[in-house]
């Protein structure tokens, strides 16, 4: 029907995601973006709307992928406690350049806080399914006697969430992989029944 686009939309989105991930929304210019994406300015606006829409789309895709990876690590091991440990340890890449980018989702919370309703809605939507899986695994852990039976599951789930945030912010701040891996294991160990 018409001229097809010359660039790979997904690849461009990925490139844009990396820029937002490293620099945040406000510090990223549209010039930064079109440069990194390797496309023209008009193609940018044609394909992605505007800077804000692109950010939302990048964040959504990032979160969807991240959540899926998290759930994979959480649910793969036979032992629930192992699953929780894999979840937390897996947040922290060994590669320095990657690790010190932190988490785009956490960055978004830090940058926008409660000021953007659309972002808050996205966060809630993304967290719900993940949290349910964590709760499931925690219950299983208690049933198997791995996890302290006196622990409140809902609170434990929230605790896992803030531990994830804390780890990711520490990673963004330059903390070492080994240190953070040990810390992740330490956190999970606090749940073990004795």
């Amino acid at each position: 029907m018409a001229r097809p686009r010359e660039f790979d939309r997904d690849a461009a989105l990925k490139a844009a995601t990396d820029v937002f991930w490293s620099k945040g929304f406000a510090a990223t210019s549209t010039e930064d973006l079109v440069q990194a994406m390797g496309i023209g300015r008009q193609s940018f606006y044609n394909a992605f709307g505007d800077k804000r829409r692109l950010y939302l789309e990048a964040l959504e895709a990032y979160q969807r992928n991240a959540t899926s990876c998290h759930i994979g690590r959480l649910t793969t091991p036979a032992s629930p406690l192992d699953g929780l440990r894999d979840l937390l340890v897996g947040l922290i890449p060994d590669d320095d350049a990657l690790r010190c980018k932190g988490c785009l989702g956490a960055g978004s919370v830090g940058e926008f806080g409660v000021t953007d309703p659309e972002l808050m809605e996205m966060r809630e939507r993304m967290i719900a399914g993940f949290r349910a899986k964590v709760i499931e695994r925690l219950r299983e852990g208690q049933r198997l006697g791995e996890i302290d039976p006196e622990i409140d599951i809902e609170q434990a789930a929230s605790f896992i969430e803030i531990t994830m945030s804390g780890l990711q912010l520490a990673a963004r701040g330059g903390a070492g992989a080994q240190h953070l891996h040990a810390l992740a294991a330490f956190a999970v160990e606090r749940f073990r029944a004795r």
Copy 2:
């Protein structure tokens, strides 16, 4: 000798701190700042250098004050575990508007990551004394039998640090005061000897 300045430098710094705290560095314009500080543009540059220097000065004062408050709460109670709980619970203001600003220090880590050596140096300088106090209190807790003797103190201190970050990021994201207070208590309870 010369014309004295008409505005209160400390008050202006406080006003600027609030803007950076709410909006972050990049999203704050110098116009925002002079507006909030209630001073003229040239007075701004005379008294504070430039936007970046002002940010550094605001962050330094903020951190110094915050750290001092943290140490106060940590060390006041007779029981080390109570001190640790007061430390974490005290991070979370009841006032919604204040709480959802989160922590300027955490915001700075999120915004700049490892990209700014001067900020990293400041972070390390600020954390050192505080961390020492936490370690002291943890040791005391173990000596008194309040804290699980099998816990590694260095890791526990790091764990307290990332829990603080996690709580503050959650607060910035809009989490409720009651919820976060309970979570703070939950985290400390993971240390208790049984």
